[in-house]
Amino acid sequence: MNERSTHARSRGVDHFMTGIFYIVGGSAILLLLVLATYIVIKGIRSYYPGVMGFTDAGIGNQLFNTVYLVVLSLIVSVPLGMAAGTYLSEYAKQGKLTEIITMSIEALSSLPSIVIGLFGYLVFILMTGAQSNLLAGAMVVTILSIPQITSTTRDALRALPDDYRTGSVGLGASTFQTIWHVLIPACIPRVVTGIILVAGRGFGEAAALLYTTGQSTIIDWSNWNLASSTCPLNPLRPGETLALHVWMMRTEGSVVQHSTEIANISSMILVIAVLVFNLAARLLSARIVKKNRGA
């Protein structure tokens, strides 16, 4: 009798805990839905004419700066990260050096972004004597991105079956030819998935850019002389990004008209960008899974 009641009790507890886990799992999803919906609705309701314009009253310039900064940083971080990942997967032997590189990747990816931002401020601004500029910000984002691109490339290459290598080398290809013509093309979808997520992180980065990109944007859209500081494409001009703009709207919001609306709308754009980046990465990896199944 007693035994049966302990048994019943355990089963009761089990049901109860299962319920708790469903509540936790459900509330995490609910929290995201509420958060995202709130930000988007608040953003839409804050709309005012001219907000998407390329003037001081709008956020067009900041949006352009953000995209430009991410592109500049990817131009550097993608080749560097992919090369380092290739080295780790295809050339490096198990040993001290590989271990140190792996540890460096871990250390670099766990450093607070403000610390890397300060490093960038010291090296790219103070030591060069330059004014705040987009390129310095892009280099900081590059440092933040390299660990992830490297480890994604390494893992993607390691996941390829050895048949790819033996087959290619058997046909007389050299190691590098094998990497360049066989391995990299085979793992490109996975690497691109990683790069999309890295780009998403760069899109929303702000703490690291506080002291590198500058907190102003003065550009003249009719000026296409690259050397001029008001040319939109000059990477050496100050260029505040969208995420940084949200921060500025809070600290210096009182002097700018529509500051609350601007922060609301910028937040909405940042969240939508995250959703789009994630969706793109997800679709891409779903296609890889399908392809690998041979469908």
């Binding site: 995202a36 560097l80 607070p112 929303g204 940042l270 969240v271």
Partner: protein, 302 residues
């Protein structure tokens, strides 16, 4: 023919050297970053003759902002306590929640989890910290002010702790779920076979066995919380005082660096004290990495 072979070999070698250099570049980056922070961060102690003890354990903060002129006070205890307080609160909220979410993902409903919870968690990771900060400031802070009658209009340790908890939840959940999934099925089967309920199997067998993975997740989450800047800066109230409770405002290391670095003269006592705070953050994040390595080394293979 031999010429062609030789040129091919040269090319091979050049490519190998090139990718190796990129690998070495990562080591160099870490060393250079650490070196620069050590050089700048030690200025407080070498150039301005403050003791490390004063920096870590005194709360008198009044550094001078004229380059070359010292004599101020650089006690950063308030910022350090602010960081510890907010991170501890964040862990207190996030760890139980994340562990439950991880169990849900790996044990209770893997299908539903993979379809809905996993993507949700990935999106949580992607949301920029300024957005968390902005929502915290416009929703959470007024809510705390109204519900708990907090002084300073709701800017508080509590607000910072909640925002941080949401931000580190994905890290802890993902790593814990991975650890639970990687356990061999026989562990669970054994427990169930002996008549344990699912919950008994989870808390007596599976969670203890996945301990090292869970701890790794918690430490990684902690290191993320330690370095988080703008989201915390927007809700903490930036008041240089010890918080009297979780409803009171204070300040922390990252928010102080972000707010003041640009307003100090390069090389002044104030400036270098902020660099020392950045160095402290670097050391803390390296300690976190070392702890993770220790945890994984002690990990038992099942």
């Amino acid at each position: 023919m031999t010429n062609k072979a030789a040129s091919r070999q040269r090319k091979e070698k050049a490519c190998k050297t090139l990718v190796m250099l990129c690998g070495l570049l990562i080591i160099a980056l870490v060393i250079v970053i650490a070196l620069f922070l050590v050089v700048n961060g030690s200025g407080t102690f070498i150039q301005y003759h403050h003791s490390v003890f004063e920096f870590l354990f005194s709360s008198d903060w009044d550094p001078s902002d004229t380059p070359g002129v010292g004599g101020g006070k650089v006690g950063a205890l308030i910022y350090i306590v602010g960081t510890i307080y907010t991170c501890a609160l964040a862990l207190l909220i996030a760890v139980p929640f994340s562990l439950a979410a991880a169990i849900f993902l790996s044990e209770i409903s893997p299908k539903f989890g993979a379809r809905f919870l996993q993507p949700a968690i990935e999106i949580f990771v992607g949301i920029p910290s300024v957005v968390y900060g902005w929502v915290g400031m416009t929703v959470l802070v007024p809510f705390i002010a109204k519900k708990f009658h907090a002084p300073m209009g709701g800017y508080s340790v509590l607000a910072a702790g909640i925002v941080l908890a949401i931000m580190i939840m994905p890290t802890i959940t993902t790593l814990s779920a991975d650890a639970l999934r990687s356990l061999p099925p026989r562990c669970k089967m054994g427990a169930l076979g002996m008549g344990a309920t699912r919950w008994q199997a989870i808390y007596t067998v599976q969670v203890p066995m996945a301990k090292s993975g869970v701890i790794t997740g918690v430490i990684l989450g902690l290191s993320r919380a330690l370095g988080e800047t703008l989201a915390v800066a927007m809700v903490i109230g930036k008041t240089r005082a010890f918080p009297k409770g979780i409803l009171y405002p204070t300040n922390n290391l990252t928010a102080a660096i972000a707010a003041d670095m640009g307003n100090t003269a390069n090389g002044s006592e104030y400036n270098l004290a902020l660099w020392s705070m950045a160095l402290l953050l670097l050391i803390l994040s390296l300690i976190c990495i070392a702890l993770i390595h220790l945890t994984l080394k002690k990990k038992k293979e099942y």
